[in-house]
Amino acid sequence: MSTSTNTFDDFPNDGWFSRFANWTSDWGKLVLDTLDAIGDFALFTYRAMVWLFSRPLRWDTLWPNFHTVGVSSLPVVALTGTFIGMVLAVQSYYQFRQLGLETRLGGVINLSLLRELGPVLAATMLAGRVGSAMAAELGTMRVTEQIDALSAMGANPVQYLVVPRFLACLLLIPTLTIMADYMGVAGGYFYSVWILSVDSHHYWHNSAQMVTNFDLFVGLFKSIFFGSAISMVSCYQGFHCTAGAEGVGRAATASFVYSFVLILVLDLFLGIALDAVYYTMYPEGARLI
């Protein structure tokens, strides 16, 4: 809980000192509030992890979340995956053709999809479709005292509401990523081979040469972190929703914005870390560059 207040409000507002004091105080408050929120989020996540392992899971709370996160998200992830594959083909084709390398398209498209676009796209769709809905639902439950009612009846709200949502996102985002990857690969192939008339045999041959199992693993490994981040950010926003329709709307928006930023930040750092792992495991890969 923040107790910081602007203690310089009483200074007259004309001198340079008071302006400097107010400026310092405003920045100080911003930094303190940000640190406060980060600490609060870390504690919230810690509590969820403690509850995850301290009681047996309840299937009646897990199944509906599995359905929302997994089954209901499949069509939209498949659709966007297909289009991203085709867009990649459109964007890369003319540049590769100038160099006479259009048969390399398969490798480039499929590598980008498996390592980057598949997992990030699946995570973005999950954050937009499921994350915001979670924040709005939990936010409404907070505002209408349903979360307090859970506590009052001897159920722990973190265990009852957060743990199943966390598990659903954690366990099902790899399957959504595989779906996005698969449809992207299919979309890219369709556009390159059927529309742009790239040779099918060489398209696949180059793909098989350039894309390794490690690339598939990188994408799926990253997606687990994205899923965890989305569920925790969305649940945190819902649990700390302020009163009224405006508060619920703000929680839903904030959950998407923070989730998306966190996905991209995690993507960068996990990418760096996984590359380091790759070049440690296969030093000959580093020598090629």
Binding site: E145, A152, G154
Partner: protein, 276 residues
């Protein structure tokens, strides 16, 4: 009647609140509250909107943690308990929320069965029987069991909320503004249900309200809270603690103003605020 009062005097109170301070974001809501509620007593917490009575009630059940002070329930300091132990202790409480706080995603039957399933010691046939009988006690037909909360009227939802709070046979029931927003007849129905519940079992009740009708009709004791922002630094926040019949005899200007529902200087305060 004397017997019960003697019994109450001898026993350690069910709830003992001492030196309680509660504040949010640096703003104090409750200051140095000392209060004991003996087992079996029905107490009304009276006061204006925003004076901190709901905050005090939520502190009694550990939904809000105090800044300072202790809340002892049956000899246990509830703020020293772990989350797991507090969850277990809360099965001895029943809480009737202001807007019922029924779970939107569940049917009425599932809502009522929730505390029973949470406790985990009841068979499905026992659950069905208990849900049916509790619903009957609050005067609702079994037809509503399959409905969702959004399909019921405000008064019906409140009665379902009451039935849900009673289903575990709690030792202490907390009512948060049980009659707010209801028509006069439904208000009396809820008041009668609260009285009937107490007659049926030796339950302790704390009722937060600003309805004078409830305060006169239902409790053994009335405690009136006053907003901190209107008090001097050394004035106690509890301005009345006595029997409901003594409310009208109180010499305290603030109590009389509330009991008689007089705006007094308040209207002028609002005018000044707008002008400023």
């Amino acid at each position: 009647m004397m017997m019960i009062e003697e019994l109450m005097d001898q026993q350690e109170p069910l709830i003992r609140v001492s030196g309680l301070h509660v504040g949010f974001q640096g703003q104090a809501i409750l200051r140095d509250i000392n209060l004991s509620v003996p087992a079996g007593e029905t107490m009304v917490l009276l006061g204006e909107s925003g004076c901190g009575k709901t905050v005090l009630m939520k502190t009694l059940i550990g939904l809000i943690r105090p800044t300072l002070g202790t809340v002892i329930f049956d000899g246990i300091d509830i703020n020293q308990l772990s989350e797991q132990d507090l969850s277990r202790l809360r099965l001895r409480y029943g809480f009737v929320f202001q807007n019922a706080a029924l779970f939107d995603s569940m049917t009425i039957a599932q809502n009522l069965a929730f505390p029973l399933r949470q406790h985990g010691r009841f068979s499905e046939s026992q659950i069905k029987e208990l849900v049916g009988s509790r619903l009957n006690e609050v005067g609702l037909p079994s037809l509503v069991l399959a409905k969702k909360p959004a399909e019921l009227s405000g008064g019906m939802r409140k009665r379902v909320g009451l039935a849900r709070a009673l289903i575990m046979n709690p030792e202490l029931i907390l009512y948060d503004e049980p009659t707010t927003g209801l028509d006069p007849i439904m208000t009396d129905v809820i008041n009668q249900l609260i009285i009937r519940t107490r007659r049926r079992s030796p339950v302790t009740s704390v009722i937060v309200t600003h309805a004078m009708e409830t305060a006169r009709k239902v409790p053994d004791r009335v405690v009136m809270l006053y907003s901190l922002s209107r008090l001097e630094r050394d004035e106690p926040q509890i301005v009345f603690d006595g029997k409901p019949a003594d409310l009208d005899q109180s010499r305290d200007r603030r109590v009389r103003q509330f009991v008689n529902g007089e705006a007094g200087q308040r209207l002028m305060e609002f005018v000044h605020e707008i002008e400023e």
